[in-house]
């Protein structure tokens, strides 16, 4: 479209500017109060906070199980719990951390809160569906807890057949619980994709979309394409146990490898559900604290989509030793290496964003630096595991355990904590203790490395994962790892302590404590119930740090009715270009 045409077709919108309030009397937390208003709320911010509470709870439950597992591994034989209990503990640690913490962590908790704010929308596209998603999550979690109390599960979080279809315990109810949680995840994905497509404020073109939204967009695509396959797979496992349908049971003509194909068709893309939203958080924080436009906007945005796409083609690398055809293994190995490319593109662009930036090393950025180091190790060891010959040696050893903990904990949990620290003032209206935040970040970083670096060593020496007993040569590694896990736990407790403490008497946050240019910082802290009193007009990009801060006050797209702000001082076209500024 040439300029003459665009100016003739574009709609002129009256724009006025106003300053956000630092501490408004009315905000989303006190406009409606009482327990019932929370339980029936359709406000994306409150739903986000409820998700935040729920995942924090399950993070601690899963964390305690991890500590019990590590403590049991202090000695080569039994230390203090029975082997069967140990099997149940590591299974539940994995299942809880993945399905109840990591998958909903950034999208459902932080994403729910931030996404509509970044889009200039009053809510997500389907607010009631959003609430349903939360209740499905709780229902699924309830069924999972019921299963734990009603026999337990010892299959590992992967539910491999034929063991899962023949073992005792409450596998049937557990897979049903995960099935229900899966629907919660699918509905969040449907909601977010529709919201990003249809609910953007005037002027918010795709090239101004914050990278956090791009990350959530890519994640949601994976959620809607992969999770239904998990749902049907787990339904088949349940049917296998109830009816003996024989799809996965070799005794009846079925094939357990088919289960692995189905399972990893979901679960490999699912590891990207657990990291791509973290990438979005990193992009937001990196620009804010280096006061610089993001380097390679489109490269970062599209590499998220590339990861989502390639992520669907690599599931076979979990099955190099499961008896799949060697040609298939080679193809899957090659495709696995390809995932490294878009991920590498991101790392380079983030580093380039820091270059010559005016870096302000606040705690969110410190967590991101932790992310860089740990995720780099996690990603590169992933390339090692993707090579067939090495994987045959390393398959099902502690090397794999260390690898995915570097990606999941070192990557996603660090990114989640960074995002939580970054958006905490906007969510709660309070500042946490910055010094304690930095110390805690250091403790977590050290604790994490002490826990998982030794696992690389013992894994490459042949220590198999999930084993209750081990030979004595591995004991020093296990003991160092156990000590590290308690340091790590201490770090997380510290984060919990100072964040909760900030709620009671923490310093009050201003509307934009970090001087960010992104949309969610241009509104009141805490935000009003419906986010925006008027429909905002997006004039500047979210990373336009070369423009002065005054230009970032919100524009309004409605005629003034309640006397907010001054009279209009510029007009923009509907595609966001200023056409006459005073």
């Amino acid at each position: 479209m040439d300029t003459a045409e665009s100016s003739s077709t574009s709609k002129k919108i009256q724009v006025q500017r106003y300053k956000p309030d630092d501490n408004p009397e009315k905000h989303y937390l006190n406009e409606e109060t009482g327990l019932w208003s929370w339980l029936t709320t359709v406000d994306h911010k409150k739903i986000g906070i409820m998700f935040l509470g729920a995942i924090t709870f399950f993070f601690f439950v899963g964390g305690i199980m991890a500590l019990l597992v590590r403590t049991e591994l202090w000695t080569p034989a039994k230390t203090f719990i029975e082997a069967n209990t140990y099997n149940q503990l590591f299974t539940l640690h994995g299942a809880i951390m993945i399905f109840l913490f990591l998958v909903p962590s950034v999208p459902a908790a932080l994403g729910n809160f931030i996404l509509p704010l970044q889009l200039g929308a009053k809510d997500v596209a389907f607010p009631r569906l959003n609430l349903l998603s939360f209740y499905l999550y709780l229902t699924g979690a309830g069924i999972a807890i019921f299963s734990i109390l009603n026999g337990g599960i010892d299959t590992g979080w992967t539910f491999y057949t034929p063991y899962s279809s023949t073992t005792g315990g409450a596998v049937t109810t557990m897979v049903f619980g995960v099935f229900v949680i899966g629907f919660s995840s699918i509905l969040t994905g449907v909601n977010f994709i529709t919201t990003i497509h249809k609910m953007r404020a005037p002027g918010l073109t795709w090239d101004k979309l914050p990278l956090f939204c791009w990350g959530l967009y890519a994640t949601s695509i994976i959620q809607i394409l992969a999770t239904p396959v998990l749902a049907i797979t787990l339904a088949l496992v349940g049917m296998e146990r109830i009816l003996g349908i024989g799809i996965f049971d070799p005794a009846m003509g079925g094939d357990p490898v088919l289960f692995q194909h189905f399972f990893w068709f979901y679960s490999h893309p699912a590891v990207y559900i657990m990291i791509v939203p973290g990438f979005g958080v990193v992009s937001e924080i990196i620009t804010t604290f280096s006061r610089k436009h993001i380097f390679g906007y489109w490269a970062i945005a599209l590499s998220s989509l590339a990861i989502a796409f390639i992520g669907f083609l690599v599931w076979g690398h979990h099955m190099f030793v499961s008896g799949q055809a060697s040609l298939a293994s080679m193809v899957f190995s090659f495709l696995t290496f390809l995932v490294g490319i878009p991920t590498g593109i991101k790392m380079f662009n983030w580093t380039a964003t820091l270059y010559k930036g005016s870096i302000d090393l606040k705690s969110p950025l410190l967590y991101i630096f932790g992310f860089f180091f740990l995720f780099l190790v996690g990603g590169l060891t992933g390339i090692v595991l993707g090579s067939i010959a090495l994987d045959v040696h390393l398959h099902d050893t502690y090397y794999v355990v260390a690898h995915f903990h570097f990606v999941m904990v070192g990557g996603m949990v660090m990114a989640f904590l960074a995002g939580l620290h970054y958006w905490w003032p906007k969510i709660t209206g309070r500042m946490y203790n910055e010094t304690m935040a930095k110390i805690a970040c250091g403790i977590i970083f050290v604790g994490f490395n002490v826990t998982f670096l030794p696992q690389f060593v013992m894994g490459s020496q042949g220590m198999p994962r999930r084993y209750f007993n081990y030979i004595e040569q591995f004991q020093p590694f296990h003991q160092v790892s156990t000590i590290g896990s308690f340091i790590l736990g201490l770090g997380f407790l510290m984060v919990f302590y100072y964040l909760v403490k900030s709620l009671f008497g923490g310093q009050k946050a201003t509307a934009n404590p970090w001087g960010s240019r992104a949309m969610e910082w241009q509104i009141n802290t805490r935000p009003p119930l419906h986010n925006f009193h008027h429909i905002p007009v997006i004039i500047n990009g979210p990373y336009d740090y070369h423009k002065p801060m005054e230009e970032f006050q919100l524009g309004l797209a409605e005629s003034p009715t309640d006397g907010h702000g001054q009279e209009s001082d510029l007009e923009v076209t509907s595609d966001g270009k200023e056409i006459n500024a005073e």
């Binding site: 809510d123 049907i232 088949l236 349908i245 799809i247 419906h530």
Partner: protein, 218 residues
């Protein structure tokens, strides 16, 4: 919502977080399309299992398929395609603001869906009488193939999951019928009919794949 209704002509079903009714309509439609993608992938898992087992046991599928009643399967296909037509007619009636026809067409759709389920019920119970149960409960000697139970496991799973979708669709149609009788729909607002129609077409299309894959193989 109150401040909107005074100043604009929004329908009473307009939700406050949208800018206008058009945005609300387009959003709902897109949400349903994305949901349908998830449905296709969910059935996709079962279709993949079907492909695998048919490649392994081609004889089994041609033998076992003869136990299925092609005539009643064909009738069901016609019934479902007919119901897709009537739901499309209900949407057209809404667009033309013919409120009575909305209810009539929805009623016919609901009835056709019920016919489908009744036929399906008789097909299933007939097989149960013969001892054709899914999986380990399979107890039928009429097919000379030792893996015959796997074919019927797939048959019951796929037509069963489809049947659940038909039942959900019937619930939705009943809800729409109730709302149309309460005069909720007109040419300005018929979003629920439109998106339920999309869902219903998908249920129909899945049956159009299931029918030849189970009934028509030779």
């Amino acid at each position: 919502m109150a401040d909107h209704s005074s100043s604009t002509t929004h329908s009473r079903f307009f939700q406050h977080h949208f800018v206008d009714a058009e945005q609300q309509f387009q959003t709902a439609k897109m949400g349903m399309w994305i949901f349908l993608v998830t449905e296709i992938l969910m059935f996709g898992g079962l279709f993949a299992a079907y492909i695998v087992f048919r490649l392994w046991y081609p004889d089994l599928f041609t033998q076992a398929s003869t136990e299925l009643n092609t005539f009643w399967g064909g009738v069901n296909t016609v019934v479902l395609i007919g119901s897709s037509l009537t739901v499309a007619m209900a949407i057209k009636s809404a667009q033309l603001n013919q409120k009575k026809n909305i209810a009539i067409n929805l009623g016919i759709t609901l009835a056709l869906a019920a016919v489908f389920m009744v036929i399906k019920y008789f097909e299933w119970t007939h097989k149960f009488e013969l001892g054709i149960f899914p999986g380990q409960f399979y107890d039928f000697g009429g097919i000379a193939h030792e893996k015959a139970n796997v074919f019927f496991s797939l048959y019951y799973l796929m037509t069963g999951l489809h049947g659940i979708h038909v039942l959900i669709g019937m619930g939705l149609m009943g809800w729409l019928l109730w709302r149309s009788l309460k005069n909720h729909f007109d040419s300005e607002y018929y979003t629920p009919i439109e998106i339920t129609g999309l869902y219903w077409h998908l249920v129909d299309i899945i049956w159009i794949f299931l029918f030849p894959l189970f009934y028509l193989i030779e």
